[in-house]
Symmetry: C2
Subunit: 322 residues, 2 copies
C-alpha cells in the first residue's frame, strides 16, 4: 500500500505538501497537479487509522439497538445509515438484546475505537455514559429518553399515540379497550399505557383500568401470553391496544387461534406491523416514522460531532396519523 511518503517521493515534494493537497489548502497549482497525478498512479488511499490516531477521532459511529431483527430497529438503522454514509461516516451495528452488560461492552468499544459518536437505544435509565462523556463523544438516544444523564434525544409522542389509538377503537364501537404494554422499566411502555389510561377513564369510567392493563416484554410470545390472560379474565375486553409491533403479532396470533380477529375484536398497534400488505388484517396501526427517527438522530449527532454547542434538545416527532 502506498503511503503519503511514497506519493511525496514520487511527486518530488514533502509529505506535508501531499497532506495539504488532500486537505485542500495553501498549495500552488503546479504541485497540486503533480501530487494528484502521483497519487493517482500509485493508487494512493489515505490511511484512516493513522489519520484517526493523529486527530484523536475517527469517522465511525456506533448504532446500538436492541435487535436489528425487529423491523422497527431495522428501519431506524436504515435511516441512520443513509445520513451517516452521505456524510462520509461508517456505521457500526450493535445488538444489545436489551442486556445492560452487552450495551456496556459496546460503549467501551466505542471509547476504545475513539468513535466520533454513538446513537443509542438505551436498555434502561441507568446506563453508564460517563466514559463517553469523559471523552466528549457525541451521543444521541433514540426511541427512549434518558433521564439520569442528559443527552440529545429523538423520540415520538408516546402519550399522544397511545391516546389516539385507544380513542379510535372506542369510536369504532368498542366498549372496553384493554392495553398490552411493555416492561415497567421502559419509559415508552409507561407513556403509551398512560395515553391509553386517559382514554380508558374517559370512555369506561366505571371500570378499573388496572384490570385491563397487561405488562409484557415487547416480544411476540409475551404479547401472545398477555392477550391470553386478558381473554381469560372474568370480564374480557372487546378490543385491545398493543404498545409495540412484535407483541401485536403475538396478540393477533392468540386472537386467531381462538377464532377471534379484527376488526370484530378491535385491535390497534403502536408501530407498523411488518409487511401488512400480506393481508388486510383489520388492525388499526399507529405508524411510526421509523426511518425519519433514524435520519433525525443521525443529523443531530453529526451536528454535535461538528462541534455544535447548542443546548441539549429532545426532538419529539409526531406519529404520522395523529
Amino acid at each position: 500500500m502506498a503511503t503519503i511518503h511514497d506519493v511525496a517521493a514520487r511527486a518530488g515534494v514533502s509529505a506535508a505538501t501531499v497532506s495539504r493537497v488532500f486537505a485542500g489548502s495553501g498549495v500552488s497549482q503546479d504541485k497540486v497537479r503533480v501530487v494528484l497525478a502521483a497519487a493517482e498512479e500509485m493508487g494512493y488511499t489515505p490511511n484512516r487509522t493513522a489519520r484517526a490516531l493523529r486527530l484523536q477521532t475517527s469517522t465511525v459511529i456506533a448504532l446500538i439497538v436492541v435487535d436489528i431483527e425487529n423491523p422497527f430497529f431495522t428501519s431506524l438503522a436504515r435511516g441512520v445509515e443513509d445520513v451517516t454514509r452521505a456524510a462520509g461516516y461508517s456505521l457500526v451495528l450493535c445488538n444489545s438484546d436489551d442486556d445492560p452488560v452487552r450495551e456496556g461492552s459496546y460503549l467501551d468499544v466505542a471509547v476504545s475505537e475513539r468513535m466520533a459518536g454513538v446513537i443509542l437505544v438505551p436498555t434502561s435509565d441507568r446506563c453508564d455514559l460517563s466514559r463517553l462523556a469523559d471523552r466528549r463523544t457525541a451521543i444521541v438516544t433514540v426511541d427512549r429518553a434518558l433521564h439520569s444523564h442528559p443527552v440529545d434525544a429523538v423520540v415520538v409522542d408516546n402519550v399522544a399515540g397511545g391516546r389516539s389509538a385507544t380513542a379510535r377503537l372506542y369510536e369504532r364501537g368498542a366498549s372496553r379497550v384493554a392495553c398490552i404494554t411493555g416492561p415497567r422499566d421502559a419509559d415508552t411502555a409507561e407513556l403509551r399505557s398512560a395515553g391509553w389510561r386517559q382514554e380508558f377513564r374517559r370512555f369506561s369510567p366505571t371500570a378499573d383500568p388496572d384490570a385491563y392493563l397487561e405488562h409484557a416484554d415487547y416480544r411476540v410470545d409475551g404479547g401472545r401470553a398477555a392477550m391470553a390472560r386478558l381473554l381469560d379474565a372474568a370480564e374480557p375486553p372487546d378490543a385491545v391496544f398493543v404498545a409495540n409491533n412484535l407483541m401485536a403479532v403475538g396478540a393477533l396470533a392468540e386472537l386467531r387461534s381462538r377464532g377471534l380477529a379484527p376488526p370484530s375484536f378491535g385491535m390497534a398497534a403502536y408501530g407498523d406491523l411488518p409487511y401488512m400488505p400480506l393481508g388486510p388484517s383489520g388492525v388499526d396501526v399507529i405508524p411510526m416514522p421509523t426511518r425519519l427517527i433514524g435520519a433525525t438522530a443521525a443529523t443531530v449527532l453529526l451536528e454535535r460531532i461538528k462541534g455544535s454547542a447548542d443546548p441539549l434538545r429532545t426532538v419529539v416527532l409526531r406519529n404520522e396519523s395523529d
Copy 2:
C-alpha cells in the same frame, strides 16, 4: 484519557511492560499486579486506533448487503454480528442498494480503514476486489458466488430449492406452475429458475417454459407486476414459484386484489415470508437458514483473518426443508 504511558508512569514501569501485561506474556507476577492495579485506578482503555496503526490491521469487519430492510439480509446480518461480536470484532453495516458504485465506495472505505475482512453480497459478477486483494484483506461472499474473482463463498443450493418448491406445487395438484425470478444478472435468479425449469419440463412437457417465466427485480413492486403479467396472459398459470421473499409479498398482494389466493391458486416462495404468523397464507415456503448463512460466513472469514491458508471453498447450505 489515560494512555499506556500514564499507566506505566503510575505503576513505575515502562510502557513496554504495560503492553506486555495486556498481551499476556513474559511479565513477573509482581509487575502484573501493580500494572493491573494502576490501569484499573486510571480507567485505562487501550486505544484501538493506535494498535491498529501499529499492527496494520483493525478488529473491524465490513458487511455489505443490498438493503438491511429486506428481512433476509436482516437475519443474515444478525447471524454475522453474533459471531463477530463473540470474537471481539466490530461490524460495519453497509447498504449497497445493488448499486456497484456504492459497493465500490464501501470497499474503498474498507481498505482505507484497514479493516480485517469483508463479508459481501456482490452486486454483480464483475465487482472489483483488486484493492482488497492487494492488501490481502479477507473476503467472503454470501448468497451469491463470484466467478470473476475466486473467493470463499457461502450459498444455498438454489437449484435444488427451486426444484423442490416447484415439485411441491405440482404434487398439490397444480397443472401449470409459472416462475417469477430475479434479474438476469443475478446468479441466484438463474439458478432458482433453472430448478423450476427442470420440474416444469417434467410435469408440463407440452408447454413452453419461457412463456411462464418472468424476470423481475427482487422487489415487492416488481413481483406484483410480474404476477399481473402472468395472470393477464392468454393461458394463465394456476400456481407460481416466486424466487424471493419480497416479490412473493408483491405477488400475493396482486393475487388477493383479484380475488385469488393460496392455496387455491398455488404459491411457493424461496425464503421465509416475513412474519408469517400474521396469518396462515397457504403459501409454501422454502425456508432459508438465514442466520446460519451469516454465522457460517463470519466463521469462515474469521478463519481467514487468523491466517488459514486452506484452499478456497464454497459452502453450500441446504434449505431446511429439502
